[in-house]
C-alpha cells in the first residue's frame, strides 16, 4: 500500500467544525472519506471577500456507494478545460477501480465541500495530487474494512478492479460496493501528496477523449440559461451608458405600457421582468434615463501615460547582482517600452444565472468559476446566512478567468426576492462587454545590456499594472531587478472599469516584453535568435522545450531579420515551461499578418491526460492570436466602444494556422498547469516573426494592420 501522512481527527469535532450537512440523507448510505488538500495549495491566492478558514475545512470527499460506484465531490467546475476528464483517471488509478465506476459531482455548494474557485490551472497540479493521496488513503480504509469482514490480515489483501482479494486464498474477496452496503461510515483524513510511481498507473498518462461530448453535440448538456422553473421571469436591468455614470432620473412609463412586462426596483437597481425574453429586451430599451457623468479623463490612447503618471506603490523582486555593475560590463545597452491593452474574456456564454427562493432558502444556478465565491457574495449582498444559500454551477460555456466575477448571480437573486418568482438573468453581449473584468492594460520598460559575445549582463525590468506573473527572469542574468508598480494605497483608481484575471493573468504582458527585448538584443548581436536564447539559458526545462519546438518546426538558423517571417519565444507559467515558434506572412500593402504555422513544446511534468492537455494547448494558441493581432477594448473614459463581436474581433476559422503541439515526456515529475501556459508567448512570437519578415518592430499588442503599416514605414 502507498504511504501517506495522515493524522486521525475526531469525526465529531470535524463534523461540528464544518457544519456538515446530512450527507447520508442525500446519498443514501455508503462510506464517506473526507479530505483536505489545502496544505498542498500554498500557492492559492484568495480574493479577500472569499477568504474562509480553509485549513479547518475538508474541501472534498469521496463516496463509495453500494452499487460499486465511487464518486468524488468537488467544488471545481467544468467550463471546457476538461477536468471532467483529468480527475477520473487519477481516481481510478488510486482506487484500483474501473474508470467507468468513477463519477464526479462538481460545483454544487450543497453537495460539495468548499472550493475557492476554478482558476490558475490549479485543478490538476494542486487539487489532483492531494486527491490522489487522499484516495490512496481511502483505499486503505476500504482494505481495513475488508480485513475485518473477511478475517484476513490487511497485509494479505490486494485490490484489483474494485475488488479486495486475499492473496493467499483468492476465494476470499469482497467488492467496494459490497463493503458499502448498508454502511454509514465517515472517515476524515489530512493528507500530503506522496510522489507517485507513474509505472503503477493504468489510466493516468493515457489519452482520454472528452466524456461530455455526446451531451454537448446533441444539445442535451445543460448550461445555466437552459434551466427553466414554473413561473420563471426573464429580467433585463437598466444599465448606465458608461462606467462612472450615476442615474439622475428615470421614466419607466414607456416600458410599463408593454403588456406582459413589469418594472421592478430594488434599491438603485431598475429592471424589467417578463415571462417573455424578447419583451424584456424590448422594454428595457424603452426606459428613459438621465445620468450624471463623472468619468476619468483617459482613453485607450492615453492610458499608458496615465499609468506612468498614476499614484503607485512599487515592489522589487527577482534581484541579483548590481544593475550598475552590469551596465559597466555591457558593450551594448537597450532601452524599450512595451504596451499591452485591455482585453475582454468574451466567452460564448454570457454571464447567466437563475435564482429562486423557497421560503428562506435561496438556490442559484450560475455560469460561474466560483460557486462558493458567489455563495459568499450572495450572503453579503442579500444579508443572508450562507447555510440558506445553494449555488450550483452546471456546464459553463467558457470562463477564461472572466467568470470568477459573479455579479449576475447577485442580480438574479435580488430580483427573485423582489418579485417572489424564479428569475433568470442572461447578460446581453453588450452587458458582457461592459461589465467584464478586463485583462489590465500595462506598460513595461526594459533596460538591458549585453557584452560582445551576446551574453546578457543586466536586466532592469519595470512593469506597471500587470504584476510579476511571467516576469521571473528565465535567462542567466548576473545583475537583475524587477520593479512592479501597482495602484498606491489610498490612491485613486487607475482603471475606469473593473479588471481581473484573464487566461494566464498578465503573463502574456510580461512574456511579450521580455521575449521582444531578447529578440532585439539577438538581432543587434547578429546571432540567430534561438542560439542567442540557448547561450543565455541554463534551465534545462526551457532548453528542452526550445529544442523540441525547433526540431518539430525544422528550424534552421538565420540572422534577424532573415526575411522568412519566423518568430521564437519561450516562457514559464503555472509550473509549466514552454517554447513557441511561429511562421507568418505579412501583406506590406495592408499591414495584415497571416499566421501560417505555430509550433509549441511544453514541459508540464506528468501529463495526466495527454489528449486534454493537447487540446488546451491548441486552444491557447488559437485564443492567443486574438490578443496578438486584433483584440483591444476601446474606450473613452468609462464609455466602452467595443461592445460587440463586430468591434471586438476574436480569432476566426480563417485565422487557423497549422498548429503542432508537443508535450515532453516527464512522467517522473509532478504534474503542472495546462490550461494557460501555451498562450503566453503568442504575442511575442508574432511580433518577433514580423521583425524577422520585415525588419519592422511593433512594441505593443495587438499588431493591427495599421500598427504594422506604421512600423513598416519607420523601418
Amino acid at each position: 500500500m502507498k504511504k501517506v501522512n495522515t493524522t486521525g481527527k475526531s469525526a465529531a469535532n470535524e463534523a461540528a467544525a464544518i457544519k456538515r450537512r446530512d450527507f447520508f440523507r442525500i446519498l443514501g448510505g455508503g462510506i464517506l472519506v473526507f479530505f483536505s488538500p489545502w496544505d498542498a495549495l500554498g500557492i492559492m491566492a484568495l480574493p479577500a471577500d472569499q477568504a474562509r478558514t480553509l485549513t479547518k475545512d475538508y474541501n472534498a470527499f469521496v463516496h463509495f456507494a453500494a452499487d460499486g460506484s465511487v464518486t468524488c465531490y468537488t467544488g471545481k467546475i467544468e467550463m471546457g478545460q476538461g477536468i471532467i476528464n483529468s480527475l477520473p483517471p487519477m481516481m481510478a488509478d488510486e482506487l484500483n477501480v474501473a474508470i467507468e465506476k468513477v463519477k464526479l459531482v462538481m460545483g454544487d455548494t450543497e453537495l460539495c465541500p468548499y472550493d475557492a474557485g476554478t482558476w490558475g490551472s490549479l485543478t490538476t497540479r494542486s487539487f489532483g495530487p492531494a486527491m490522489r493521496a487522499a484516495l490512496a488513503e481511502a483505499r486503505g480504509v476500504m482494505v481495513e474494512l475488508a480485513s475485518e469482514k473477511l478475517k484476513v490480515p490487511v497485509s494479505d489483501l490486494k485490490v484489483e478492479n474494485g475488488t479486495i482479494i486475499s492473496v493467499k486464498d483468492p476465494q476470499k474477496k469482497i467488492t467496494y460496493g459490497e463493503l458499502a452496503q448498508g454502511k454509514r461510515i465517515e472517515r476524515y483524513l489530512t493528507v500530503k501528496p506522496p510522489v507517485e510511481d507513474y509505472r503503477d498507473f493504468t489510466y493516468v498518462g493515457k489519452p482520454r477523449f472528452r466524456t461530455d461530448s455526446v451531451e454537448k453535440v446533441t444539445g442535451k448538456a445543460l448550461y445555466a440559461g437552459d434551466l427553466k422553473l414554473p413561473g420563471m421571469l426573464f429580467a433585463r436591468i437598466l444599465r448606465p451608458p458608461s462606467h462612472g455614470a450615476t442615474l439622475k432620473s428615470v421614466n419607466t412609463a414607456p416600458a410599463e405600457k408593454i403588456a406582459g412586462v413589469k418594472v421592478v426596483r430594488d434599491g438603485d437597481m431598475v429592471a424589467v421582468v417578463s415571462e417573455n425574453k424578447d419583451l424584456a429586451d424590448e422594454a428595457v430599451a424603452k426606459i428613459e434615463a438621465e445620468y450624471t457623468f463623472s468619468e476619468m479623463p483617459v482613453n485607450d490612447k492615453t492610458i499608458f501615460d496615465w499609468m506612468l503618471k498614476a499614484d503607485t506603490s512599487s515592489s522589487v523582486s527577482n534581484t541579483a547582482g548590481n544593475i550598475e555593475e552590469g551596465r559597466k560590463e555591457s558593450d551594448v545597452v537597450f532601452e524599450h517600452e512595451y504596451h499591452d491593452v485591455y482585453l475582454a474574456h468574451a466567452p460564448m456564454e454570457t454571464h447567466t444565472a437563475l435564482a429562486v427562493f423557497e421560503g428562506e432558502k435561496l438556490t442559484v444556478w450560475a455560469a460561474t468559476q466560483s460557486p462558493f465565491g458567489l455563495q459568499d457574495g450572495l450572503a453579503q449582498g442579500l444579508g443572508m446566512q450562507r447555510d440558506n444559500i445553494r449555488v450550483i454551477a452546471p456546464f459553463v460555456g467558457g470562463g477564461f478567468g472572466g467568470k470568477s466575477a459573479y455579479q449576475q448571480g447577485i442580480e438574479a437573486a435580488r430580483l427573485a426576492k423582489v418579485t417572489g418568482k424564479p428569475v433568470m438573468v442572461v447578460w446581453s453581449r453588450e452587458e458582457e462587454f461592459f461589465y467584464d473584468t478586463f485583462h489590465s492594460a500595462a506598460v513595461v520598460k526594459v533596460n538591458s545590456g549585453m557584452d560582445d559575445n551576446g551574453l546578457i549582463k543586466f536586466w532592469d525590468y519595470h512593469v506597471w499594472m500587470a504584476g510579476t506573473r511571467g516576469a521571473e527572469q528565465i535567462y542567466e542574468v548576473p545583475n537583475r531587478k524587477t520593479t512592479s508598480y501597482s495602484r498606491g494605497r489610498n490612491a485613486p483608481p487607475v482603471h475606469p472599469f473593473a479588471t481581473g484575471p484573464w487566461r494566464a493573468p498578465n503573463n502574456n504582458t510580461n512574456t511579450f516584453a521580455r521575449e521582444c527585448q531578447i529578440d532585439i538584443m539577438a538581432a543587434r548581436a547578429g546571432i540567430d535568435p534561438l542560439d542567442f536564447r540557448l547561450r543565455n539559458l541554463k534551465n534545462q526545462h526551457v532548453i528542452d522545450c526550445l529544442k523540441a519546438a525547433a526540431d518539430r518546426f525544422g528550424y534552421t538558423p538565420g540572422r534577424l531579420p532573415s526575411g522568412r517571417g519566423i518568430g521564437i519565444a519561450c516562457g514559464f507559467d503555472a509550473g509549466t515551461w514552454q517554447a513557441t515558434i511561429a511562421e507568418i506572412s505579412v501583406d506590406r500593402n495592408s499591414g495584415k499578418i497571416t499566421v501560417k504555422r505555430l509550433v509549441c513544446a511544453q514541459d508540464m511534468g506528468l501529463c495526466v491526460n495527454p489528449q486534454g492537455a493537447l487540446i488546451q494547448m491548441e486552444g491557447c494558441l488559437m485564443m492567443g492570436m486574438g490578443y496578438a493581432l486584433s483584440e483591444e477594448v476601446l474606450f473613452e473614459g468609462g464609455d466602452i466602444k467595443t461592445k460587440g463581436f463586430d468591434t471586438y474581433e476574436i480569432p476566426k476559422f480563417s485565422w487557423t494556422p497549422e498548429i503542432e503541439c508537443i508535450i515532453l515526456d516527464r512522467k517522473d515529475q509532478a504534474p503542472q498547469g495546462g490550461g494557460e501556459p501555451a498562450i503566453i508567448a503568442v504575442g511575442a512570437v508574432i511580433a518577433n516573426a514580423l521583425f524577422d519578415a520585415t525588419g519592422a518592430r511593433v512594441f505593443r499588442v495587438p499588431l493591427t494592420p495599421s500598427r504594422v503599416l506604421e512600423a513598416l514605414k519607420k523601418s
Binding site: M79, G80, Q81, G82, F209, R210, D212, S213, V214, E215, K216, V217, T218, G219, K220, A221, L222, Y223, G225, D226, K228, E275, N276, K277, D278, D281, A346, P347, M348, E349, T350, F395, V396, G397, G398, G399, F400, V426, S428, R429, Q611, I615, E618, G619, C620, L621, M622, M623, G644, F645, D646, I650, P651, K652, F653, S654, W655, T656, I659
Partner: protein, 158 residues
C-alpha cells in the same frame, strides 16, 4: 398578439399560438424547451443560435417566429435518429472538436447546411463556410477536421 403558426419542427408538424414577432431563438428555447439552440450575442455575429430553416443555416436570434410559417425548422435536437448520432455529431465526438461546447450546436448546424450545398468541400471551402461562427475555446482546427471527416463519411448523402 399571438397568432397561429404552423411549421415542421425537427420533422414533426407543429402548430403554436405565439406572438409572431418573438424571435425564433427564444420561442425554441422557452416555448419548445429546445435549449440546444444557444444565445450568444443576439445580433447575428456569433452563430451560437444557428438552426436550419428549409436546409439553410439561419441565425435564430434575428428571425421573427412568424417567418417559419409553412417551413421546416431543424435544431440540434433533431439530428440524432433513435439515439444514433448524425455523422457530423459523431465526427465532432471522434475528434474532440469542442471544449466548453456552447458554440457546438451552431457549429454543427452551420456545417450541415454547408454540406447539404456542397457535399465535398475543400478545406478552404469549409473555413469560408464556417468563418462567421465564433468559438472562444479555440477548437477551430479540430472542427475543420471533424467537418472534413463527416463529409467524407456522408459521401454526399443527407
Amino acid at each position: 398578439m399571438a397568432k397561429s403558426i404552423t411549421f415542421t419542427l425537427n420533422g414533426k408538424k407543429t402548430r403554436a399560438e405565439i406572438d409572431p414577432d418573438q424571435t425564433l431563438l427564444w420561442v425554441l428555447r422557452n416555448h419548445f424547451g429546445l435549449t440546444g439552440t444557444k444565445f450568444g450575442c443576439g445580433n447575428g455575429f456569433c452563430g451560437a443560435c444557428t438552426v436550419l430553416i428549409d436546409d439553410e443555416a439561419v441565425r435564430s436570434c434575428s428571425v421573427p417566429f412568424g417567418d417559419v410559417q409553412g417551413k421546416k425548422v431543424v435544431t440540434i435536437e433533431g439530428l440524432a435518429v433513435n439515439g444514433r448520432l448524425h455523422p457530423l455529431q459523431q465526427a465532432f465526438v471522434d475528434n474532440d472538436a469542442l471544449q466548453c461546447g456552447y458554440c457546438t450546436p451552431g457549429m454543427i448546424l452551420t456545417a450541415l447546411a454547408l454540406l447539404k450545398k456542397n457535399p465535398a468541400p475543400t478545406r478552404a471551402q469549409i473555413i469560408e463556410g464556417m468563418d462567421d461562427n465564433l468559438c472562444r475555446c479555440g477548437a477551430h482546427p479540430r472542427i475543420i477536421k471533424a467537418i472534413d471527416e463527416a463529409a467524407k463519411k456522408m459521401k454526399g448523402g443527407k
